[in-house]
């Protein structure tokens, strides 16, 4: 980590083309992970198991969407394009989110017989959330000062998201055999994709070299350690080494699920991008 000079502003970041590229790449990973997961959360609106959960889950999805907005605005400041356009007009291969967050909530569509898997929603949000916490903590010492600042703020909020999901994990793990079986099946499904979360993409070496975030191996080890501890506390069996999906989302390879998500979420925006909201 020889080049970890602290960069205070977007203008300063733009003076070094290599730094700018590495930073943008990382910001797209952060933005797209939160944006797509928040979108999947929004698809649960009106479908959550009870009214209180519906309010809570929508509120958290809105907050995660707000985190994505912060990152897209940082990209806008860096000259990558308008935040709204970045979110809504890019093709799937420009997205850098991990495959885990784009998976559909279950079978059927929101308007067409949604058979969504609540266990999967819990396991995905919890396991992604564990990684997000480790990542935000690592970003506190990012060389890009604005990123370190917003990360600190996000951590104060993310804490509550994790409390919420942890209650669900604990209750279902210690409930009826059916609840436990379904939760375990959902964890297994999430775990098959979760190994990609700590992937920093094709530009990983530059991203780490510029001191933007800690190295992949370090993020991964910390995340696994913390997750293993919580699994033990809850009384869940440790699923072992996480798997990785066939596609590499961090390199712009995605599943048809992302195409569906992007087509739906940007449908209105594409009709009239100049409309005022």
């Amino acid at each position: 980590m020889a080049e970890t000079k602290r960069v205070e502003t977007a203008a300063e970041a733009k003076q070094n083309q290599e730094y700018l590229q590495a930073l943008s790449e990382l910001l797209f990973q952060l933005a797209d992970d939160d944006f797509i997961l928040a979108y999947r959360g929004s698809e649960w609106l009106g479908l959550a198991p009870h009214i209180e959960e519906d309010v809570a889950y929508s509120s958290m999805s809105q907050d995660i969407m707000g985190h994505a907005v912060m990152y897209y605005e940082m990209l806008e400041e860096l000259g990558l394009g308008k935040a709204d356009d970045l979110a809504q007009l890019r093709q799937a291969d420009a997205f850098r989110n991990a495959i885990l967050v784009e998976r559909a909530n279950g079978t059927g569509g929101y308007n067409d017989n949604p058979h969504y898997d609540w266990g999967y929603a819990i396991a995905r949000n919890f396991i992604y959330g564990m990684f997000k916490r480790v990542r935000l903590e690592a970003l506190l010492s990012s060389s890009y000062a604005p990123l370190a600042q917003v990360s600190r703020k996000m951590l104060t909020e993310h804490r509550y998201h994790m409390m919420h999901w942890q209650v669900w994990m604990k209750q279902l793990a210690n409930s009826t055999p059916e609840a436990r079986n379904r939760l375990e099946a959902a964890i297994a499904k999430v775990w098959g994709d979760a190994g990609e979360l700590s992937d920093l993409g094709p530009k990983a070496e530059k991203i780490v070299g510029f001191g933007l975030i800690a190295a992949e191996a370090q993020l991964r080890a910390e995340w696994l350690k913390q997750t293993q501890n919580i699994f033990a506390q809850i009384g869940l069996d440790w699923p072992g080494e996480p798997g990785s999906p066939a596609q590499r989302g961090r390199a712009g390879e995605h599943t048809a699920d992302l195409d569906q998500a992007l087509a739906t979420l940007s449908e209105v925006y594409r009709i009239d991008p100049a409309a005022s909201w």
């Binding site: 209180e52 309010v55 809570a56 509120s59 809105q62 907050d63 703020k153 104060t156 909020e157």
Partner: protein, 168 residues
Amino acid sequence: MAQGQNVLDDRLEAACWELLQEVKDPEIPVISMVEMGMIHKVRVEEGVVHVEVLPTFVGCPALEIMKNNISEKLLQVEGIREVQVHFVYEPAWTSDRIAREAREKLRSFGIAPPPLDYKPGDAWEVACPYCNSPYTQMENLFGPAACRSILYCKQCKNPFEALKPIYY
């Protein structure tokens, strides 16, 4: 800059602070944004006022409304021709920034204020804003806004909300 200009800007700043007391939190209309500790800085330069605002929650949907309300209000100040609202994250907003006198107003609105001097790991004990009983129960960590939770008082049998402690 001439000395006269400085004095004028200082006076305009004071006028802006005063009017900002009237800009309420859109979700909690009894409390001003100043009392919420959300207004960090007000700086006037040649008729342009720059207001630095600390968001309580990054994902708060009321941020745009606050921005517009601030602009509308400050344009009423004679001598102000433009309002620039900036959301800043340094320093980060924490719930200890809420003014002491505002805490009572929150209670009167049915919202329990966040605990003072809260430290990570502390238990979050919430007294009912109506009857002050500690015999309350968390119903939903996430209420109608991300910054609030929904609780129920087992003493006076009222549902109420509480502002989450935000700290780092």
